[in-house]
């Protein structure tokens, strides 16, 4: 079957490539144009017992991809070639191989859009459907099928789609169907459009079909689960604003969906996402709340891991960028969680005591996520649990204060303090809560017109400790850490950076990195050498494991 798919892909690839080539050669005749980008990442790693890095038998690992897009008026066609020979450390070994991973033809008219082939799509916040890819997570759940959008009048968008999801070099057996409607009332009703009131409302429904299979009942060996073959999820949403205020909300309900993710229980899914924001010149503030119950939604019920998710559950924690702030990222708990996030950004004016000559930006963010308050009523083949209104165990919490200030015409400094509480259970690991204090100082100095320097120092104090022989304490992130980084930009083309992360007290590990990069136009080449700490890489609450590595890395990106 896979061979047939590969053969079909080859035929389509040749046909699409031939069309694009002919069209590109005849630009004057067809008037279209071709754009694209290429990315290549390589890695060489050798064993290092001090950090837990394993030897790489292939010596060289490589991920590469090239996207090519042809557009001609309302018509477009594209393809993406991918190669994983072999996949970089941390990427699923099932990616191994090369070939055409994505191809489509599309028509994008004023009122009607139609895509045939692979496509990405999102309904609302994505809680019932989000087909997307993230190359850094090794995640691609593109749909292969038909996607139609119709805009009968300005402000109204209707969507309908059907297809199967990509899983590595194949497509999952589950069939995904969905419809969505979104209406911008300001475009439809003149009085609203001319007022300070804004409102967009929407609703969507997604259903997946999957064949029956035998899943034994845990309670009785002669019984098997009576599985729902069609599982639906519906959502209603609104984005309402008045003046400087806006309120967003989405409520989702999912039917019975016993799966490997939830232990094959029949409890229905439910999710609520609320957000309130206020913004004015020099000040913005937001408050978000989220509660999800059994909202893992995949097109193949037996699938674990990050592939074949139909939906996406937005993270309610800040996606930190500094190394120690992001050392313990939060992974969304699809089976149930509830949380709050508050965020305030304020610009202290110039000429004030704190603002000084250039003013100062202050950014305060805090989030807390706890589990559900549940009473377990059974295992596979039962409702599973009852959900009560209280709070479950603490999963994650953090508060961070960031102050950024221009000290002179050429020097800018940012200081951040954060306090984090992290429960390893979010990574399915044992152990108690980690409590971390983190301080970051980041100074950028524009030395001259052609040279700039960035110096970063970080410290993290933690109550966790490392013990290789204790499963509850063998997390290599444990302990206290310091880090230094120097980054030198030479002219407009070159940069050099050096950094070192060192664990002390109850921690273990010394992770140094050297990196050199060259950028010209749309092309960037980077070569690095050093050690990578094992951990999790999370983007928007979706994570992949990053194993320890020790050696050379290189990357090339370009676009045309």
């Amino acid at each position: 079957m896979v061979d047939n798919i590969m053969k079909r892909k080859r035929i389509v690839m040749i046909a699409v490539a031939a069309c694009i080539t002919m069209a590109a050669q005849g630009q004057g005749l067809l008037g279209g144009h071709v754009t694209g980008n290429v990315q290549l990442d390589g890695q060489m790693s050798s064993a290092d017992s001090t950090i837990g890095a394993q030897d790489v038998p292939e010596k060289l690992l490589m991920n590469a991809r090239a996207d090519i897009l042809y557009t001609n008026g309302d018509f477009s066609a594209g393809l993406r070639f991918e190669m994983y020979q072999n996949p970089l450390l941390g990427f699923d070994a099932r990616y191994k191989g090369q070939g055409l991973a994505n191809y489509f033809v599309a028509y994008n008219g004023e009122r009607l859009s139609v895509t045939l082939g692979n496509f990405y799509e999102q309904f609302g916040s994505g809680m019932i459907l989000r087909a997307y890819e993230d190359r850094y997570l090794g995640l691609d759940n593109a749909l292969m099928g038909l996607n139609v959008q119709y805009r009968p009048v300005e402000g109204v968008t209707l969507k309908a789609l059907a297809g199967k999801q990509r899983i590595f070099w194949d497509y999952g057996e589950g069939l995904v169907r969905g419809v969505d409607a979104e209406v911008n009332l300001g475009s439809l009703v003149k009085a609203i459009g001319e007022s300070r009131f804004r409102a967009t409302v929407g609703a969507g429904f997604v259903s997946k079909y999957e064949e029956d299979e035998t899943v034994p009942s845990a309670a009785n060996a002669e019984m098997r689960l009576n599985l729902p073959l069609n599982v639906g999820a519906a959502s209603v949403r609104a984005d309402i604003g008045y003046g400087n205020w806006s309120l967003q909300g989405e409520y989702v309900r999912k039917g019975q969906d016993p799966s490997a993710m939830n232990g094959y229980v029949y409890h229905p899914g439910e999710a609520l996402l609320l957000g309130l924001t206020y913004s004015q010149r020099g000040l913005s503030a937001s408050l978000q709340a989220k509660r999800i119950v059994n909202m893992g939604f995949k097109s193949v019920r037996s699938q674990s891991g990050e592939m074949l998710y139909i939906n996406y559950l937005p993270a309610i924690t800040k996606n930190h960028t500094y190394a120690f702030l992001s050392m313990y990222p939060y992974a969304t708990q699809v089976n149930g969680e509830q949380g709050l996030q508050g965020d305030v950004m304020y610009k202290i004016k110039k000429g004030t005591l704190l603002g000084g000559k250039y003013g100062m930006d202050v950014h305060v963010n805090s989030s807390v996520v706890v589990g559900l308050d549940t009473t377990v009523t059974g295992g596979a083949g039962t409702e599973g649990y009852e959900v009560k209104g209280g709070l479950g165990e603490t999963l994650y919490g953090d508060v961070s204060v960031e102050m950024a200030k221009k000290l002179s015409k050429n020097v800018k400094a940012t200081v951040t303090y954060a306090y984090q509480v992290f429960n390893p259970v979010v990574e399915n690991e044992p152990g108690g809560l980690h409590h971390n204090n983190i301080v970051v100082a980041d100074v950028s100095w524009k030395v001259s017109k052609k040279h700039s320097l960035r110096i970063e120092g970080e410290w993290m104090g933690s109550d966790s400790h490392y013990d290789a022989n204790d499963p509850e304490h063998n997390d290599r992130r444990a302990g206290d850490w310091v880090m230094g980084l120097v980054e030198w930009n030479i002219g407009t083309h070159w940069f050099v950076s050096a950094s070192d992360q060192w664990a002390y007290n109850d921690g273990r590990g010394n992770y140094y990195n050297l990196s050199v990069g060259y950028t010209k136009g749309a092309t960037r080449l980077q070569v690095g050498y050093g050690k990578q700490r094992e951990g999790l890489l999370c983007i928007g609450g979706v994570c992949r494991t990053v194993p320890a590595s020790n050696g050379l890395t290189f990357g090339l990106t370009t676009s045309f």
Partner: protein, 273 residues
Amino acid sequence: MKKIFIWVMGVMGVMGMGACDKIEEGEYTIYDGAVVSWTEGAAIADPVQRAYVEKYTGPRCSNCPTADVTLAGIHNDRVVVVAINHPVGQGMPYPGQPDMRTDGGTAWDQYFGINAIPAAYLNRDRSVQFLGEMGNIVSAIDAALGETPAVGLEVSATQGTKVDITVDIQFLRTIGSPLTLTAAVVEDSLVYKQLMPDNTVDEGYAHNHMLRKVITGFWGRDIEANGTEGEAVRGTLSFTPSDDIKTENCHIVVFVSDKGTRRVLNCASCRIE
């Protein structure tokens, strides 16, 4: 505009009602057939590759007797045929005639998406469907019988107060994917009305190999083994035949299949002693 909204909400309503199954509490689990008890087994002497033919048929199907002739011509101890009564249309029983439709057969029929009979599959390879007179199934069976068996499989059955079945399986090469064992009972010499190719109804038509019951779950029971070359396991299970089954006319059919693809690796059948 109003019409568009009505249309959209209508479509969504239909999808909402029709594309979301609701399982009532108390029906979360269903009977899945007899449990297989696994113990260490013994090597199988002279293991052979057999061919498993699943034929979909019906009493109102005028071309089905022709397919029966084709399959009768090739039926031997290395070809195991199971005839499944299509659940709708030409599979519907004549008034007053026995209803040969079974829950297991219906599940298999739906899995293959059978929409025309006679139809047959060889070793549950979904990519090749044999239709009509099935002349081309002969060469396909010959090719399948020529393959080197991946598993050796033998079955025996004895009747006391219930029918006890013993299945011996030996892995002749290492198999990494999980396998299942499916057991069923088929009955010969069932006489009831059959539409013939000349559009007459033969009231004395003898139906053979008719599926009467899937003894294990429809999709089999997991084989509890490591799957390493040389490993042998013995599975035992039992069932109580219903009164309308004449066990003296029955065969027990067993087959080993890949749990994921459902392709059959080998099969065997025996009379009930």
